[in-house]
Amino acid sequence: MFAVELLILVPLVGAALCVGVGRLSARASRLASLGATIASAGVLAFLAAEGIFSGVALEGWRVARDTVPFWDLRIDGLSAPLLALTALTGLVAVLASWGEHNRSSVHHALLLGLQASVTGVFLAADVVLLYVFWEAVLIPMYFLIGIWGHENRRHAAMKFFIYTFAGSAFMLVGILMAVFGIGQTDISMLVSGRTALAQPSLVFWLIAIGMLVKLPAFPVHTWLPDAHVEAPTAGSILLAGVLLKMGGYGLLRLALPISPGSFAHAGIVFAVLGIVGIIYGAALALVQSDLKRLVALSSVSHMGFVLLAISAGTERGIAGAMLVMVSHGLVAPLLFLLVGQLYVRTHTREISRFAGLGVVTPRWGSALTFGALASLGLPGLSGFPGEFLSVIEAFGAWSWPMIPAMIGVVIAAAYNLRAVREVVHGPPAEEWRALRDLDAGDLVPVMLLVAAIVVLGVCPAIVLNMSGDAFATLAELIAGGV
């Protein structure tokens, strides 16, 4: 089915169009990028009508065309929710950079290029293709941070690049070992032929290290706060929204299925890294003075829940990991978007310089309060179902030793509500008396994310119905042991 290819081609064509019409006017290129993201969402909606969201098994639904080597695309339960997330955050990122004046056509083109490559990662059914897209993601992100970032952008771009590149070097070794060891490049073939691997645990960890850097897991997370703080708003939105999800996706797509036996010892490592990450990220977020760094470190904490959930190795655990990822892909972009909107108006992110914005900019204040409540995992919003599954499944697997993770749950409430208290509450600061509240244009991306957060919170079945079979298959693989 050719429509799957369109998910990659449409943003790519859009990117070319952006640069092309950028010579005419910045407005035209903005419209072109908006058109491209809407069209990608439209393609996805079309595919949804064809049934990709109805829940298909891990190795189902081949939609390949064999004319290009390694070119093999496939959608299944594992990728469907992340594709939807990519389409949504891509649209939000374009809307968020509507006011970007510095070389806006290139900026938008890079956003679209990023969307195309991330989509490629989630669609690739061939491990070589997956790796190519994986590395391709780095390029637009590198330039987005390096050119449109803030004061310290070059250092952050560099750090981001070296870190994730080093991570993917391990991953590449792992992939090549698997490819040469099994003699296949198709992922499902790799999985079914996995018994031919001489050192499955080595392959597992080589791949997993790349994923853990991407996720990011403690202690290889330090590229993330720097990258986020320096990245332009749209960059942060895509970074938090979908780039981090590549880490969790890769674990579930490659590492675990190719070497499910390694889970016997990897599970406990994931659990420990997850719990440490949950507490560590939350504790650091608690003492930040930069609002954006606070949100960035909260990502480390949330991604800890992804690892903790996976560590249970059960269908519900994996479901919890996916729900946490999708939810974080909505909530963190919302918070980054709001921080960005504030920065555009005030040119600062210092928490201590703000107070009482709830009076001055009530729409912005309400949205931040909403985002904070979503981030702390309030039921009814998207953060809760995943965190809940993560906790109960981890308890089922690890029993009382997982209790320290609960400290993170309390601190999550503390850092989120602290941000609201210091920025939104209190008597309004004189300095910002004349601050402009969000206008209709600002509100469109905000409300898109808010709506998605509520819908997913009330009805997590949307994701679980897409992916349930895939999770069950994975859990069976893990339970099978080899």
Partner: protein, 612 residues
Amino acid sequence: MVLAYGWSVVALPLAIALLVGLVGRFLGRGIAYVSALAPAWVLFYGIVACFEVLSAAEKGGVLARGAAVWLPAAGDGGMAVGWAVDGLTGLMLVVVGMVALLVMVFSSGYMAGERGLPRYFATLSLFTASMSLLVLADGFLGLFIGWELVGACSYLLIGFWFTKPAAAKAAVKAFLTTRVGDIGLLLALALLWREVGDLSYAAVFGMASALPGAVLTSVSLLLLFGAVGKSAQFPLHIWLPDAMEGPTPVSALIHAATMVAAGVFLIVRIWPLYSLSATAAMVTLAIGGFTAIAAACAAAAQRDIKKVLAYSTISQLGFMFAALGAGAWEAALFHLVTHAMFKALLFLGSGSVIHGCGGVQDVYEMGGLFKRMPITGATWAVGALALAGVPPLAGFFSKDEILHGVWGVQPLWAAVLFGASLLTAFYVARTTRLAFFGTYRGAGHPHEGGPEMQLPLLVLAVGAAIFGVTGGVIAALIGGHHGDLDPGIALASAGIAIVGLLSGWFTAASASDPGPSTSTGKLIIIARGGWGGDALVNAMLVGPVTRASALLDVFVEGSLINRIAEGTGPAARRLGRGFTSLQSGDAQWYAIMSGAGAVALLALVAYLGRGF
């Protein structure tokens, strides 16, 4: 049949919350009455449910239920969130609906002219929906969702006047303290899920007697921890006095009648499980008894009329916990209902006083209000006497049942509760005399509020006066036992109430504190501060966590992990410097780096893969 639409007591308030939040500002003063439709429906539904239960041949059964799979799973049926209506649910819906309805009516006068009324009424409606969900849920998952949501509404409403730093701080403190307790609840769910594999009450109760003793005790203690947080029991009581920063009608609804009683409701709800653990019962009794007397002492030392009521609420909830610990769960529920009436009445009365005195909350600056605010004064008197346990008002009967129940199990703790009763009567009389009698000491012009504020007071006064007769009905609703009045205990508690009232009355002759250098003065200062609970929590918890986090940030993240990451040898840094100076060489460098890396990796793979 109307009962089949049980989900509507959640859905309708939710829809109204949305409506009021979005278009509330176009509704003008009608906003309160549109919002009031939500609790009115809850109340109506609750009444119908109660009548159905009472007329049914077999009590204690479920009248109607429904469920939907919330977290589907391919491997099994998934996790469901469901609702079920029985006598206990019906009774709680009546309490929630009635108090919420009256509070909304009262608010239309009390909050008139405030900014942000749509936010206020939308959050109140959301609270009504969440509280309905909490009592309507047919299992732990639905309960937990409602439990967390009422906490969030409480946070939003305590912080309603968010430009006041104290209000903003109190809101966060309330949320965080109760969230500490919620962890107990969440872990209890996890443990039950592991042991039973189903979170509906029916399934858990069915398995309860087959569970190992250690599991039963753990689950019960974890649930108790959650209940202690929500119901502001020692040592998680510290948030409730601060929560008085919220608008007074909110205090009446959330922090007196409904949400803070959710802990008691929880234990009553899961009685078939909870009653199996003797350890949990012992701990519950101790926590309840201790909280009852310590908070009553603190209440006796307050100057702020709302703080008196806040500590009084903590103390009265302590009575209920003590009853639960003694196995007298019917008495605990009975007291929950009567307390909802008289404490909501007292809070709304204090709201009327604060409104009339132009925002003054210090009883030392009141006095003589009875003459100037006769309706408020008279209804306050009814509530106060009911709280003090004077027969034949409602509080007397329910407290008598508690004392009777505890006496039969642990006479020592019963003695403590008698002491708490004495103190209760003491602070009630003291506060009442200081505020309503003598001469007016303030600078304002106290006046009665409008009819929308007087009517709720009158309705609640009737409830506080006559709800003592409902003990039998309540026991019948939950299929429990209702004992007759124990003459000895009744006489003793009535006598204690009189003694306490008289001593409180005479203490209140002068509206001033004893000097801070006297030993009484020192004691009063400590008690007024809630026995140093805040300082303890700050020293033991808040301080260490913040300090540890700051240390992590500076030393582990900054000096260790980041230094390793950025400084793995000067080579990386030199590479970085060289790179940043190459203004136009980005792509080129990338290509070289990629190429070199790929070659190195291929060599590595060839080496590793030589075995096959």
